[in-house]
């Protein structure tokens, strides 16, 4: 089976007036279905740019990017929007929920932009909320929820279109340790169900929940290693080992 993500010699160059800034310099990367990849690296290493391109929010300057067998490189903005809607779920550091909009309506949002009209929109959104353990908070507004709960709503929103890929950009950056582990447990659970997950983080602890760590530096991949001793979030939760983890 073809890899879910295949990147070949990909570059991104930002042009600001006379100055050219290469954020990515000839990256090649392949991610198989069902992998859990952590992307690490210092600020300015190109990992955010990488995530934006992977998430079809931005286009590479050069190189090839195949997502689910489809060449993304030359696609028009509308086609990119369709891919974001159908194939990618985003989870952000700042949750990025719509204010004064209930949890269920936030989760419904991607379905609104689906080309097909989905009659059981609320049912599907409810299902996604159940899956992240917030079945009873459907009508809560983001400001009535804790940070962890808000991130769960965001994950439910990422899940609702049943995409093969979830991209998470510092998903635990705004959360305390226990909540971070809970969120990572949720990601591991989703990963076990077959969803490919890529998490950008600068915390080594968080990266060790993944099965593979890709480290960026100066726009190139410095290392790409499997995780030998993977942390199981469920185990940590059951043992109450947050402090040490």
């Amino acid at each position: 089976m073809a890899p879910l993500i295949q990147i070949e010699d990909l570059s991104k160059i930002y042009q600001t007036g006379e100055i050219e800034l290469a954020a990515l310099r000839g990256i090649s990367l392949s991610v198989a279905r069902g992998e859990f990849v952590a992307i690490m690296g210092p600020s300015g290493s190109g990992k955010s740019t990488m995530m934006h391109i992977l998430g079809c929010l931005d286009q590479p300057t050069r190189g090839r990017y195949l997502l689910d067998g489809e060449e993304v490189g030359g696609l028009k903005p509308n086609e990119l929007a369709r891919i974001r809607n159908q194939k990618i779920g985003f989870v952000f550091q700042g949750f990025n929920l719509l204010h004064r909009t209930t949890a269920i309506e936030n989760v419904e949002l991607p379905i609104l932009y689906d080309g097909l009209s989905v009659r059981d929109r609320a049912a599907r959104a409810g299902e996604a909320l159940e899956r992240v353990g917030l079945g009873d908070r459907r009508s809560s507004y983001p400001n009535q929820l804790s940070g962890g709960q808000q991130q769960r709503v965001a994950i439910a929103r990422a899940l609702v279109m049943r995409p093969p890929l979830i991209l998470a950009d510092e998903p635990t950056g705004n959360l305390d340790t226990r909540t971070s582990v809970e969120i990572m447990a949720l990601f591991q659970e989703l990963n076990r169900d077959g969803i490919t997950i890529m998490v950008v983080t600068h915390e080594p602890d968080i990266a060790h929940y993944a099965s593979r760590i890709v480290t960026f530096r100066d726009g190139t991949i410095r290392s790409d290693l499997p995780v030998s001793r993977r942390t199981d979030a469920k185990e940590i939760l059951s043992k109450g080992m947050f402090e040490s983890a």
Binding site: H52, G55, L57, D58, P77, N78, A81, R82, R84, N85, Q86, F90, F92, N96, L97, L98, R100, T101, L109, P110, L112, Y113, D114, S117, R157, M161
Partner: protein, 405 residues
């Protein structure tokens, strides 16, 4: 995306800022309200003028005595009494385009009943006058040709005169005195209301011409001749024929000025109508300016809204909203604002025209056309002034929108 959902999103976004939405709408409400009320006033005035013209008779010509020029000094119209009873007879008999011609003579006199008196215009004329002027009788009858022949002392009263002399009593058969001459009231005219010039057309007493000439004024001349053409289309022909005939009868050689004036009511009607049309246009366009100002208000608020909600736009784009989904969302929001403002404006406009009618006593006519136009216009304003902010929202780059603080 389903339009119903877009409407729902727009409604929710507007409800979030109730005060701001209401104030933004206010511009459109006032604009549309003003257009509707002003056009209603204009249309009302136009209809009133038309009704007045119709009450005079649109196929009517009026012949007035002309001015004289003595030693280079020109007198005004009516300074001479050049028209005669025979002129009127000749016009009626000799001209094919003329149906009737009624000579008339007027004087102002104190009219006295048993216990009331009233100063009014007394008109002496022929029975045809009632037909020419389209008078309808509210009671009794017009005087007859034999009344005219015999200079009978009979009178027909206008509504205002009857009210002032007899109140609620039936005036038919009563006796009135005009300059001490007793007259028997034989007819009562139905009210016509004000003339185009604001005169009370019902403040009249009409008696046979011969009676006025011989028994009251002691003259033989007449003042005006009311001519009724066969049809409104023939008024121009009739006007030319009357002019030719009178020049001939008065022996006016070519190159000399007429000693009379023929006035065509159609011209007066057209002028009055044109002026009320100009008024409607003027009022309407002044009101339209406020509608445009309202539209600019919408654009302003939509621009603020797009900036405020940059992050929301980024989120929507990240989960799959296309540029045109965002465009539609903001455009629909602007149109919902302007259309809701438009509908409230129509209500305000209708209400204020009713108030104008009730308190200022100006007639107003609210045409369905102006309501439709105002509604359509407010949608158009929403689209026009909402498009720029919406395009700005749609052209945002998803990453920059997401990063916006």
């Amino acid at each position: 995306m389903n339009l119903l959902i877009v409407l729902k999103i727009a409604g929710r976004a507007l409800a979030r800022n109730t005060m701001r939405s209401a104030l933004t709408m206010l511009g459109i409400i006032i604009g549309v309200g003003a257009v509707i009320a002003m056009v209603a006033v204009g249309q009302g005035a136009k209809a009133q003028v038309e009704a007045q013209i119709a009450s005079i008779g649109s196929n009517m010509l009026m012949v007035f005595p002309g001015s004289t020029t003595q030693a280079g000094v020109r007198g005004g119209s009516g300074t001479v009494t050049t028209l005669t009873n025979d002129d009127a007879l000749a016009i009626q008999k000799e001209l094919s385009s003329v149906r009737l011609a009624a000579p008339s003579l007027r004087t102002v006199a104190q009219v006295v009943s048993a216990n009331q008196n009233w100063s009014t215009a007394v008109t002496g004329t022929t029975p045809d006058y009632f037909t020419v002027r389209d008078w309808v009788f509210g009671g009794g009858r017009p005087f007859t040709p034999s009344d005219l022949k015999g200079a009978a002392k009979v009178a027909v009263l206008g509504k205002t005169v009857a009210d002032n002399l007899f109140g609620s009593q039936d005036p038919i058969g009563q006796i009135i005195r005009i300059r001490n001459v007793p007259f028997k009231v034989v007819g009562l005219l139905s009210p016509k209301g004000q003339s185009a010039m604001g005169q009370d057309q019902d403040d009249v007493v009409i008696i046979p011409l011969s009676t006025l000439q011989k028994r009251i004024m002691g003259v033989t001349n007449i003042q005006t001749i009311m001519v009724s053409a066969n049809s409104p289309e023939e008024t121009v022909t009739a006007q030319e024929e009357v002019q030719r005939l009178l020049r001939q009868r008065h022996r006016i050689s070519p190159g000399q000025d007429d000693d009379f004036t023929v006035r065509n009511m159609t011209d007066i009607a057209a002028a009055a109508e044109a002026s009320s049309r100009v008024m409607t246009l003027l009022l309407g366009s002044i009101a339209s300016v406020s509608l445009i100002v309202g539209g600019i208000g919408i654009m302003n608020i939509m621009l603020v809204s797009v900036t405020e909600r940059t992050r929301e736009i980024g989120i929507r784009m990240a989960v799959g909203a296309r540029g045109r989904d965002i465009l539609l969302q903001f455009l629909v929001e602007a149109v919902v604002l302007s259309l809701a403002g438009g509908i409230l404006g129509v209500i305000l406009g209708v209400a204020s025209s009713q108030l104008i009618s009730a308190f200022v006593h100006w007639p107003t006519i609210i045409s369905p056309g102006s309501i439709l136009l105002a509604t359509f216009f407010s949608i158009a304003i929403g689209v026009f002034f909402g498009l720029y902010p919406a395009r700005r929202a749609a052209s945002l780059h998803p990453i920059e929108a997401l990063r916006y603080e």
